[in-house]
Symmetry: D2
Subunit: 145 residues, 4 copies
């Protein structure tokens, strides 16, 4: 789908918000791409982020999926607004095994108040991407006071 951003500096706005998320810095996540209605986040493997089998923890996978959805939505929102996640649903389709996680989110619908996104997470091993989580999320635009 093609979307027209409402503000010129939508990329800067997303980057500024991402930088304020200490948790993204703490785990080593990078904001890699922002387009109108799209966002991509990368996260290199790190032992601290694992579950009992040494794979990426589902909490990390969902954090990435949720964040990508939030910023894909924010890229289409108005000047004096921020974004909050209302809810999301995530299917874990395969274990998070790999050197890198990539989350890619696309806006399905950008309404006046609510946005709906699909956000998928891929685990990359030896250069091959495998879908490890598929999610669908609802986000809300919040006007800054």
């Amino acid at each position: 789908m093609q979307f027209e951003p409402k503000i010129k500096n939508y990329k800067q706005k997303v980057e500024d918000s991402f930088k304020l998320q200490k948790f993204m810095d703490f785990i080593g996540a990078k904001l890699v791409k922002v387009e109108p209605g799209f966002c991509e986040i990368h996260l290199p493997y790190n032992e601290n982020l694992t579950q009992q089998n040494g794979y990426f923890h589902a909490g990390i996978i969902s954090a990435l999926a949720d964040n990508a959805a939030g910023y894909a939505s924010l890229s289409l929102m108005e000047e004096d607004s921020s974004v909050l996640s209302v809810e999301f649903k995530l299917n874990l389709t395969s274990p998070g095994i790999g050197d890198l996680l990539i989350a890619r989110a696309n806006v399905l619908k950008s309404g006046r108040t609510l946005s709906i996104c699909r956000s998928d997470v891929f685990a990359v091993k030896n250069g091959v991407e495998k879908l490890c989580a598929a999610s669908q999320a609802t986000l809300i635009q919040v006007k800054k006071e």
Copy 2:
């Protein structure tokens, strides 16, 4: 609901699995209570776990909700089995503002293959608990080879 565990050492089994999750240690989460079909996890506030407003990050909240659901389910599973999250859905009902997060999960249905849980996360501020996330999850029992 009252559940009968299938194995005597269900608590030990959950504690052993929890200890193997490096991510839980990394963020400072503690397994506080395990009962048949129930699990409670606590997480003290830490600046590293925050989003752009300084509140607990939604990814952290969902990691806790998911883990509590997984271990509530595992407490009712068979000897040579482990648990995997199939999917979960989480509503963020209020910002994660507080000194402590508490996740409490209850099994709704424990089937032969699949378990269904409800897992809620509360933010505690000045000793008062407030619901910050409500989730519903599907888990699968995996036989160890």
Copy 3:
């Protein structure tokens, strides 16, 4: 949870809206109870409502769950408002076998714009209720023009 309705005639408002839903009449569903933040709907068995095994169809079960959630939310909304479902997630916990379906929805959070509900559906056989679906829903208040 205890909720205070914003309008006196919240029951009437819910009943009026329910009557306008031809689909509820078509399948034979009855609005049985409305309280602040709560709604209960009943549906007697009818062969027309079945799936391939002769049980209540999942679509019927979700229609009931969704409607109960909508009206539980509407009971707490303002005078000149109606309710729309934003999304819902439903786990089918056991087959819909019985003479009657009962959907019961409780509001978890009633915000200015959005409401979050849990709505469960029970199949009643020989007078015994069994949980056949557990759902969680997000609803939005829409101001009438």
Copy 4:
């Protein structure tokens, strides 16, 4: 995604199951297309299927989405098996206004036990399709006894 069906007569199997669903006949739904990992169902407008504003009822929309997901999954399952919905999550992206509903489901992952699908519903008005619901579902293969 490209999928290889496990049985030759996958279409016949889906058609046979669809015919047994009295609810689909009751509302006038037609199975229009079955391919490996894909299913499309159509439903013409009918006043009996409406909510309070005269639009397609969300319960009808979710019944269609759920059924298309189930049959997309069944098309990839083994000979002596049937399919059950484990859970689904559905966002209502716009009102169900139109002469026809079209549900299209695609399998995302077809595992040994579980399948994950995305199922979208479009309302067709004056020949133009508009997305009215986006869903994501988990299905389970059940061996016939």
